[in-house]
Each structure stands twice: as structure tokens, then as C-alpha cells.
Symmetry: C2
Subunit: 504 residues, 2 copies
């Protein structure tokens, strides 16, 4: 299953490069050991897994959809789907996983060919998208979008295939070039994509160059054009005024050499793992924050519900996002270290949990982006997707409010074209129940009993080396967060700076 | 066919009201005679109709789609559709035209009921939307959108129906209310919609009130949030922070009493007319500007092509937009007067042409709005839709460029969900061919021979009482434009002001 992970490492890790420059994260980075995958690593901590079902946590209306949508119908009336799934995993979009990595026997010749072609240098985020495309997370895309795919994505959040069927596609996966590069390409129908180390990453064929309507792209993807959107500042504002699309031949698997490559399972590898484990349901959880006991509560409860629905072996795909995140999110290395500690504490059952990194960059585009997060997990074999409050959301960059309505994400997801096959599992927000001293699903009939620990609050507590209430997060996991903030270099005035100032 | 047009006229015309205030348009407004409909009026000018096919205009590549899209396939491979159409008109979206006007016998009681309900006062544009909804242009909508419809419109430009089928819906048809009105409605499940004359227009049932995310609505509909978008300034910026959706019972047909009501055929009336004429193809052309010979060239050519494809009786639906337009567009009254002159001059064959007003307000939302324009015409019986350069486009309100890529409209239209049944007919821009002294399709191989007469240029010529080149527009039609600009009150400095300053 992990043979692809052992191929020679060629592309220099952009993450490592960047952290070396700042002189912070690499030096104090986590040592993640040498286990071949997070999944099997997780399997080493079976000891505590059986205690969870007996936990005294009170469950309150976890799955009641708060909106008039066919969510519950979808979950309940899927007898035909369950039959199909028990005979195999959910089909990838378009029927077949589209992997774009060339056969090993062809690599040398493709490498030579690439060296002869007009060059496009990839940014760190561009390379993450090549990674995403190469492994088929964006199946059936065969490369960076041409204009017809770009326009369908912007306007319809979906693509119509040749056979008339529709697949979801909500965020543009595009490659921007400037005038100089466009002129250099001239009439060529092929180009080579190069990494930051000046080695070829991929060949793009049958290219199409079209205008990059930045304002329109931003407005239609984020529903705002306010300045300060992290992905826009990082990847669009200063990008070229042209987009180039075409079919990719990726010369070898994308690796980052950051100690985490072994945790980056491709959709094909995940599907193999689910099949090996005889999964008859796979429920995916997108994660870009440290795991706390509210998450664990939800995962355990979901599994219980799936068992009640008649599934025999539901497997959890805990799939933290590994690509670009904004400066004040906890960096991937620290999150993975934190996830490990939580697993060691037995919060998740390793027999029914796979932890693996999702290589996509983060848009923070709320209801638009959550569709991408869900769609990519279909391709990885998931037929259930858990969606919470304000998925992929953030504060409005210029106004004192959340950018998105907290309920729009799950509503949009439940109605999205091309995701009809996916069972959407909305959940209520978990909060610290002071009467129980535990994380529990929020009960609106007694709001005074609950304490909400937001990401900001959690970060502030960890930064100040304070402890959260008992039962919020296992102590091992919490210590990792404290350690992360300790690792940040104090400013001249002796204060621990906010992470924005350090990572940026 | 026109029985509905003779019902008592009750709602006071918002257009007439406004023009009375400015003291310009009403006084010099057109006298449109007393023919019962534009269709039959058009039928009075048969004399010149046969001369058109013999005109010496050169046709150049009218229907070659400039993009790699299944446009030509759709037109050519529709044998199954042609068979169906020859047995009847194209089905409305969802299978059945949804008309929301209550039975005549119920009007008095509905009127009484409305008087007892919490009230919402409609703006001029709100009333136009009630008109649109009441006649089924937006079929299968049963009233102003609830949140699930609003979100699907914003994100997917389409609605999924109960049976899983998808219909196009690209612009939000919503009703905004402010906090005071929301509080007044309180827990009521029904409200009454009132016109500007304080008489009830409709009852809205099973209402749902939800947040009006203005910025997001604007960004996702227009692809920009730049200030100065006409519809935004007119209908969104100062609208309430809540939207209210629900099923409409419209108490009687919406009338404007502006002398043009008899030209406002509903989709049902248009369908009757097409059936009466034994149409086996209906091609619709959306229009919000004066008609010139370039349009006529296109219509004639389209009919010829449809005949060549094997249709026996293609009918043109020339469907000028009658709702809100921006200040520098030529007002509806003048446009209709101009259309009449053009018809009198025999530019269109009245036997195969129906001219009727489309009651929708204009968004100027380019590729998003053109889908609405096309979808509404399916409901009116059209199975072919002609789309030109930059449909529903305008200049960017704050930057020196067009707001939309001129080709995106037809590309997006050809890929739009729910419009698969509609044959999209793109056309190249017509321009004045100096070598022929006529309007002709632009030939990019000899650009120097062509003169582009933009809307702005046309308006400036008419304002200055200059003539366009011979063959651009029939003299009778041109004189109407000159007359319109003459009717505008000169400013204190004696100059004819730009229409923005007068109509606003």
C-alpha cells in the first residue's frame, strides 16, 4: 500500500525551505518517529480504545438537520446505496480515479522532455495543487483548468462531463502566469512546470491560455472582494493576468521531505486501506485545527449511529488539511504532533480510524470551499461527510462579523450538484458542559451551562500557558500546543508575539 | 388569447407615475394605437416582408461557435427534440407553467383577506418581480425565493426539484424587508403585498424570513462589489437586511396603465400564439436597445438557417425587456415606438415575428443574467435562444474596461445547468460594412472595412441630430431616437443633457 511513498525524493520541500528562513519551526519541529503511516501508527494504541463507548457523555440531537433540506432523507433512504457500498467503496467522480503521475519507466524521458520545453516556475501553492491533481483528489480533472472548466466552477460549482453527468467542482484549480511567461510560451502547445529547486515537476499538454479575471474570480469564489482574504493575498493578488490550463503528466509523486510525507496517503492508497479493513462505510472529517474532545465525541457518536443504521464496519477518515493555511492557524507539523498525542491517549479507536494528510491548500471560502473538501473525499472513498458550523469560514477581513452565515456551509453542501451520492452528516457545535465537566453537544435549552472555547480562545490559553477546563483536550495534546507557542521567538519587548507576526 | 388583457385595470402604473414626475416622457410619449397586441399589430405590415430574403447582404460565418463547446452539436444533433417540438412547444421548466394569479371568482375574497394581513409595501422593481412570478416566467418558482432557493441560485445558478431534475435559476428573485417590517410580521405565516397606491397586489403564504447577505449576493451575482452597479444602487444597497420568501397568490394580473399593457403577453399567451401560428421552432431574442439593421440581418439569417435545418415554420419572439433599466438606456416607451417604426418599414416579417414585452427588471449581470433571460424564454415557449457579444453586460462601474469578458456570456449560457434543452445560437457582432454600405457580420479578416456603432455612439449621434450611415437603421426608427433626445429638457446652460441627468 505504501510503495509509492518510498520512491526517491527529488523535489525540495517548500515548507522546509520557508521554515528554515524564519528560523523557528524547523529547529523546534516535531520528531514524528518512523512508523510507515499514521494509520498503522494509530493502530499501536489500541489499549484505551474500548473505553469510549462507555463514556457518560450525554448526546443531544446530534443528527437533527436544522434546516428543511433532504439531509435526513438522504441518510435514511439510502438502502440502494448501502447495498452498493457493501459491495465496494463509493465510485470516484466520473467513475474512475484520475491519477496523473507517469509510469516509472517513462520518468527519465519525461524529465528530458520537460527540460526542452518553455518553463513555468511553480509557487508553493501551485505545487500543492499539482500534488492534489496528480493523486486524483480532483478527479475527473486531468490538469489545471481550461477556461470552460474555470467558468463552470465559478458559475455552477460543478462540471458537466461528456456523458451529461455532473460532478462537483467549487474552487478554481488554476495556474496563473504573467505576460512575460505567456510571451515566452508563444505558440507552444506544451510547457514544463518547475519547482522552486529548478527541477521539472510536470509537463502540461494541449495548453490553453486565457484571461485571469481576478476580481470576478474572487467575488464568485468568496462572495466578497474585501481586502485581506488570506488566499487572495497569498496566491491571486500578485499573480499573473493569465491562466494556463492543460493536461498534466506529473513526473513523479510530489514529496515535501518534511518528515510528514509518510502521512500523505493518496486517494488510491486510502481506498486500498479501506478495502483492506473491509470498510462498509467511510466517514470523512476535514480538520485544520488541533483535535479536542468535542471532535472525539462527534466521531464516536457518528460511528455509533452508522452501526445503528446497519453498517458493520464504519471507518473514520480523519483528514487534516496539509496545504497552505493562514498565518494564525497552527502549522501542520504541530497539528500532526498534536494529533499523535491525542491518538496515544486513546481518544480515537485506531482500529477504525485512519489519520492522513489532505494536501490541498486552504481557501477560507466557506460554503464554496466546503464542497471541494467533500468532493475530494468522495474520490478518496468516503461516502459520509461530517460538516460542522461555519465550515472553511473565518472572520470577515474588514468588518466585525463572520464572513459567512454559520449555517450556509451545511445547507449549500446538502444541495450541491454532484454531491448527491455523498451522505452529509451535519453536527451541532460541541462546547464544554460545565455541569458534566466534559465536552458535549450544545443544548440550546440550557445555554448557561456551556462554555464555548473558540480557536482564538484556545490559542490564547495555550500561548499564556494556561490550561483549558479539564476534559477539553487530553493533556498530552494540550502540551503540544503550549510547546508550539513556546517555540515562537519572543519579540524584543519580551512578549510572545501573536503567531501572525511570526509566521508571516 | 388576449382575454386576460381586458380585465379591469386596478394597480396604478409605476412607470406612468415616474414619468409624470419628470414631466418628459409622458407628454411626448408614443401613441401606440389600439391594436390588441404587438403581434397582431405587426401582422398589419405584411407588404414588405417578402423582400428581405432577396436582400444582397453578405453572410459571413454567422453560426460558427467561437469556442470549443457543444453549441453546434446541440443545434445539429437535436433530431429527438425536433420530433418532440413538431408535436408541441418545448415544455416549461418542471413540466408545467406555474401561474400565480388567483381565479377571478376568488379575487374579492382574497382582496379582503389581504386587507387583514400584515403589510409589505412593494417598490417599483418588487412589483415587476411579482409580475414576472405571477405569469410563470420564473416557473417553477411559486413566489419570492426562500433561503434554500436563494442559496442554490447564488451558488449553482440552478434549482434541484423534488424529482431530482435541475432547472436553471441564476438571479435571485427575492423580496427585502427591514427590521420594522419584520417585527410587524412577527409570527404571522402570511403577509399581504401592497402596491404604491396602497391597494393589495398579492398574498404571500408559508413565509420564511432569513438574512439578506447583501455583499455576498452582489459578489456572487455580479462578480464584483464595485460601487455604481445600477440594480444594486436601485434595489439592494438601501433595501432591508432581511429577505422574505413564500408562495404567492396574486390577486389579479399586473397592469401598468402606460399604454403598453396590451404588448405584455404572458408566457401562456405567447404559447397560445405560437400554437395558433403552428410554430415548429421558436427563436427568442432579448432586446433592451433600439433595433437596427444588424439585428434584422441576424433574425433573417437565423430563420433561414432554421428552415435549412428542416423546420417548416420558425417564429421569432422579439422580446424587449420592459422592467427596470439604467438611466442611460432608452426608456421602454421610446423603444417600443422605435420598434413599431422598424416593423412598419418591413424590416421583420410580421407573419413570423411576435413582438412582446418581457416584464423583468434588468440586472446588468452579464453571464449570470443571460441565463435568466434564456430560461424565462423557455417558459414562454422558445426552444432557440440567440446570444450576442457581452449579453447583459455594461462597462465596469469604476474601471476603464467592460465588466465582463465579451465571450463569457455565450460560453456560460452554453454550459448552464437546466438549459440543456435550449438550443443556444451565438452570433458574431454585426457592424457597418463600409464596402457594402450595409450592416453585416463582422469579418475579422478585413477589420478596416467595418465601422462599429456602439450604443454610446448611436445615442450621441441621435442626441446631436446627426444621421448614422445609410443602412444602419431605417429612417423612421432613427427619427424616433432623435425625437426622444429632443424631448429631454435642456439644462440651464442650453445644452441637451446626457440622459443620465434627466431620467435619474
Amino acid at each position: 500500500m505504501i510503495t509509492n511513498l518510498s520512491v526517491p525524493l527529488i523535489i525540495k520541500a517548500p515548507f522546509a525551505e520557508e521554515t528554515e528562513k524564519t528560523g523557528t519551526e524547523t529547529e523546534s519541529g516535531p520528531d514524528l518517529g518512523s512508523s510507515p503511516s499514521m494509520a498503522s501508527m494509530a493502530a499501536a494504541f489500541i489499549k484505551t480504545s474500548k473505553s469510549i463507548p462507555q463514556s457518560p457523555i450525554t448526546f443531544t440531537k446530534t443528527f437533527v438537520p436544522p434546516i428543511k433540506l433532504p439531509i435526513s432523507l438522504r441518510v435514511k433512504n439510502n438502502s440502494h446505496r448501502r447495498i452498493r457500498i457493501s459491495g465496494g467503496l463509493i465510485d470516484p467522480d466520473g467513475g474512475k480515479l484520475v491519477e496523473l503521475i507517469v509510469e516509472e519507466s517513462m520518468r527519465a524521458s519525461k524529465n528530458r522532455e520537460a527540460l526542452s520545453l518553455p518553463r513555468i516556475k511553480l509557487s508553493r501553492i501551485d505545487l500543492q495543487w499539482v500534488h492534489v491533481l496528480s493523486e486524483g483528489w480532483a478527479t475527473p480533472l486531468t490538469g489545471f483548468m481550461r477556461e470552460s472548466e474555470f467558468l463552470q466552477t465559478l458559475h455552477f460549482n460543478s462540471l458537466r462531463l461528456q456523458d451529461g453527468s455532473v460532478v462537483n467542482m467549487s474552487v478554481p484549480i488554476v495556474l496563473a502566469i504573467d505576460d512575460a511567461v505567456k510571451n515566452r510560451i508563444a505558440a507552444s502547445s506544451k510547457v514544463a512546470l518547475f519547482g522552486s529547486d529548478d527541477r521539472p515537476v510536470a509537463i502540461m499538454k494541449d495548453i490553453e491560455i486565457y484571461k485571469h479575471p481576478k476580481e470576478e474570480r474572487i467575488a464568485r469564489t468568496w462572495g466578497t472582494t474585501a481586502s485581506g482574504l488570506p488566499y487572495v493575498d497569498e496566491a491571486i493578488k500578485n499573480a499573473g493576468n493569465w491562466l494556463i490550463g492543460g493536461d498534466l503528466e506529473v513526473i513523479q509523486p510530489i514529496k515535501y521531505h518534511d518528515g510528514l510525507d509518510r502521512f500523505r496517503l493518496s486517494p488510491a492508497q486510502l481506498r486500498n486501506e479501506f478495502t483492506t479493513r473491509n470498510a462498509d462505510a467511510v466517514f470523512a472529517f476535514q480538520l485544520r485545527n488541533p483535535v479536542h474532545n468535542g471532535h472525539a465525541l462527534l466521531m464516536t457518536d457518528t460511528r455509533r449511529r452508522l452501526l445503528n443504521m446497519g453498517y458493520n464496519n464504519p471507518i473514520l477518515l480523519l483528514n487534516p488539511l496539509g496545504g497552505y493555511t493562514k498565518a494564525d492557524d497552527v502549522p501542520l507539523h504541530w497539528r500532526i504532533k498534536q494529533h499523535q498525542k491525542v491518538l496515544e491517549d486513546g481518544v480515537f479507536d485506531p482500529e477504525t480510524t485512519i489519520v492522513s494528510i489532505f494536501p490541498s491548500p486552504m481557501h477560507y471560502a466557506g460554503p464554496t470551499e466546503v464542497q471541494w473538501h467533500a468532493k475530494a473525499r468522495i474520490n478518496a472513498g468516503a461516502n459520509f461527510y461530517i460538516v460542522g458550523r461555519d465550515p472553511a469560514g473565518m472572520g470577515h477581513p474588514t468588518e466585525k462579523r463572520d464572513l459567512y452565515d454559520a449555517d450556509h456551509g451545511k445547507k449549500v453542501l446538502s444541495m450541491a450538484p454532484g454531491l448527491e451520492r455523498l451522505n452529509i452528516l451535519p453536527f451541532k457545535v460541541a462546547a464544554y458542559d460545565k455541569t458534566q465537566g466534559k465536552m458535549a453537544f450544545f443544548d440550546p435549552s440550557r445555554p448557561q451551562d456551556f462554555l464555548f472555547i473558540s480557536g482564538t480562545k484556545m490559542r490564547n490559553l495555550a500561548r499564556n500557558k494556561e490550561n483549558p477546563p479539564d476534559g477539553f483536550m487530553c493533556p498530552g495534546g494540550w502540551n503540544v500546543l503550549v510547546e508550539y507557542y513556546e517555540s515562537l521567538v519572543p519579540a524584543d519587548n519580551g512578549r510572545i508575539p501573536k503567531p501572525e507576526a511570526v509566521v508571516a
